[in-house]
Subunit: 249 residues, 2 copies
């Protein structure tokens, strides 16, 4: 048996998210079906993050065990050919042999997300479903100030979905930066792990501030209240991208 580490890119539009679901297509199901087609083995693919419906990945890390011998390159090529044939907007960017104790989820010590916003009146064409369109200009400095209150170790109860299954609401946010490039705003977040909906909840609060509906200090007040009721609302899944997973060494 050999363990492989895969780096995947996927377009979340029309998908139920990473995890296998009874009621619709998922990334996990598509990749497991492609693996079965090329190896005849019914396997489980484990990923660094389980993204929600409509969320994308530019570099999701996953691992899988296979008995049939493949070189990493042949595995990547065969999987991509099969995924393409199946019409899936999923691609394997890299495949490599992994140690038997490597686990895409449990070995992961850092996760990075990007949230993409386009500020304009016109509907999105190329980025429909891939970014959040905000029809008014955003105050980037206010958003950056709001973001600064969230960086560090905090109880993120206010930024957590009611369905979150994490044992503790305390997380350490290593990075939350806001960058404007023309009419685009990118928010980058990095942490060892995130609570369910945490990034979308934080972005929702930052955009609220960016639109001038609340001062940046309100972000701190929401955090300190530990009360999800105070949150102005989540950002939609469209703009959320899983951009990287970090492992020891």
């Amino acid at each position: 048996m050999m363990r492989f580490r895969l780096t995947l890119e996927y377009d979340g539009r029309g998908l139920m998210g990473w995890q296998r679901q009874a009621h619709g297509p998922s990334v996990q199901e598509a990749v497991e079906q492609a693996l079965f087609a090329i190896s005849g083995e019914a396997t489980t693919v484990h990923s660094a993050g389980r993204t929600d419906a409509g969320v994308h990945a530019s570099a999701m890390v996953a691992h899988v065990d296979l008995n049939r011998p493949f070189t990493p390159f042949r595995l990547m090529e065969a999987l991509n050919a099969r995924l393409r044939q199946a019409g899936a907007r999923i691609a394997v960017l890299e495949a490599e042999e992994a140690r038997a104790d490597f686990h895409a989820r449990f070995s992961c010590i850092g996760r990075a997300y990007e949230y993409r916003i386009v500020c304009r009146r016109a509907p999105l064409t190329f980025e429909a479903g891939l970014a959040w369109r905000v029809p008014r200009p955003l105050d980037i400095e206010a958003m950056a100030e709001g973001a600064s209150h969230l960086v560090g170790r905090h109880d993120f109860t206010s930024f957590r979905s009611v369905h979150c299954q994490a044992a503790s609401p305390v997380k350490t946010l290593d990075l939350l930066e806001v960058e404007a490039i023309g009419d685009r705003v990118v928010i980058r977040a990095r942490a060892r792990s995130f609570l369910h909906h945490q990034v979308r909840s934080m972005v929702g609060a930052l955009v609220h501030t960016g639109l001038g509906r609340a001062p940046p200090a309100m972000v701190r007040a929401i955090l300190e209240a530990r009360d999800r009721q105070l949150l102005p609302g989540n950002a939609p899944p469209d703009g959320l991208w899983f951009t990287g997973a970090l492992y020891p060494q």
Copy 2:
């Protein structure tokens, strides 16, 4: 009657290009139909460039005359609502009142294109149809050197489609730059006007050089030969984007 200048973004996938065609959907037809729906007027929309099938625009400039009074903002909003309703991946980014002597095509003194390449083995997901996937690394310095031979005033017969209707093959290429950003390569071209297929022909020759199949000096040799037979082949339309039109003042 009032003349409006429009800045349009469109996704060329599935379209026959800018110009109205009997055998398939075009940008011109979609915009003229939307204009008819909101004004009841059968008008002709003129554009700075007539992009081919499968070619995209991030900022195409066009003009149209309407009798029914609209403010530019209401025209943009109504057109976008209608285009969206029709399922067109076309958006009006800007609308403004134009002088009666402004003509999107004939007043235009500069056109800019971008050609997008992604160097990787894996099939494209997000950028399928929006970039040219080249499965091997490109030698950017060789491509830049090849490009330098094309900048300036030359007879571009070798880089011209047999269907080109321009009176003269002599054009002045103001810019042809090659930039690598990670696994992406962007080639930017700027000129007063281009011959039919000129950008795709130039990119085809540069990629040939970038793959090491010919030295950069071959680009000059092809140019000087004034013989299209020497051209290694056009780049596909997928990666071509019309990115801007320049007007006096």
